[in-house]
Subunit: 239 residues, 2 copies
Amino acid sequence: MVAMGARPLARSEVEVLVREVLRQRMAGRINPPPAREARVAAARGGQNAPNPLVVNVSARHVHVTPADLEALFGGGATLTKHRDLYQAGEFASEQLVTLVGPRQRIIPNVRILGPTRGYSQVELSYTDGVYLGIDLPLRVSGNHDGTPGITVLGPRGALTLDRGVIRAKRHVHMSQDDLSHFGVRDGDEMKLRIHGPCGVTFDGVVVRHHPRVILEVHIDTDEGNACDIESATNIELIK
Amino acid sequence: MVAMGARPLARSEVEVLVREVLRQRMAGRINPPPAREARVAAARGGQNAPNPLVVNVSARHVHVTPADLEALFGGGATLTKHRDLYQAGEFASEQLVTLVGPRQRIIPNVRILGPTRGYSQVELSYTDGVYLGIDLPLRVSGNHDGTPGITVLGPRGALTLDRGVIRAKRHVHMSQDDLSHFGVRDGDEMKLRIHGPCGVTFDGVVVRHHPRVILEVHIDTDEGNACDIESATNIELIK
């Protein structure tokens, strides 16, 4: 694991970073992986299920506190909606940031998901981690003990998070009706079976209960590409 | 699927391509995904198995005919060894090429694997395909019917392949002893179970028999990252 320093960057340090990034980019040495928007990948109703089974691929993204948003986008900044996500009230914002890894490699145009949260968090794939040189811990959202940090650049400022960079553990959001239907409890692990030409069964899909969510599985881009989720012929969530 | 033209590029067209690539690179719009060398990811002996079970992650790579090698590296060019691969006689060469996709996006530093073959072939992950804008067909090596092409740049010339760009279907190389041990035949499909924090079971692992190979599973970088193969605690190959 490679952790960044915890203190905020000085203006001179940001200038050095940006100059280095530009220099490397000019030299063709800055080659982050492609970004991809999350999208509804497949939806199938289970037997007598209260809700359709939807699997969404989460592209790399960032969550921010109101204070961190202001540090990046200036005083009084708020998140504005780019498009709605599947869960009511959740949205991809218009606000984009640049991530600077420990090897000074950057990934630009990383979207902030709204609304703001009580913690800032950066969710990356292992492909991103290899590129940036960060050994990503596998975590449920919000569990930041021992996680690495990263530098985030916004149009009005830079921010060094001292922790909160993770690969999100595969998970499924469930309402009480969904818990009852599948016979599981919050924190249980299930299997997600993707049938198709690149068939895969994912173990360890964590059940995350919230009274106001809709049934939705989240996997990341590595997982979505490994099983070619777009070509799936059927999908099952198995206890 | 986005196919490239079949005819060779004229010098003036190559110049236009390279100028465009350089222009985009200067503007910071050329951002291919990270390259990664294939590596032995895990090895476990099965029960009474004649050979250890080895899973290797294949990073994107190219195979070439002797004629295509000369088109890229000049008359009389040969492949020189960078390092040995797991199968005897196979090697990662020192020769690197640049791939130019249909959207003029490029992936530089793609390694040619040797020795030369009777066909040229480009093996990419879906992450690469998304980046380049190529809808990759899932194929066993050498099956090029209906596959897209791509432009390949070498230090001494450019080459437009009219086909041969694939995502390699997961496969396992087996000797006769391995076939007997697992009770399978060439062309059968097996399951590869990866135990660990990102546990995954891959369906459709094609058995490929050759009298002189060692038991070896090949998956690509998307698959290797989806299951975090480096963190695997056990691996099973199941009929």
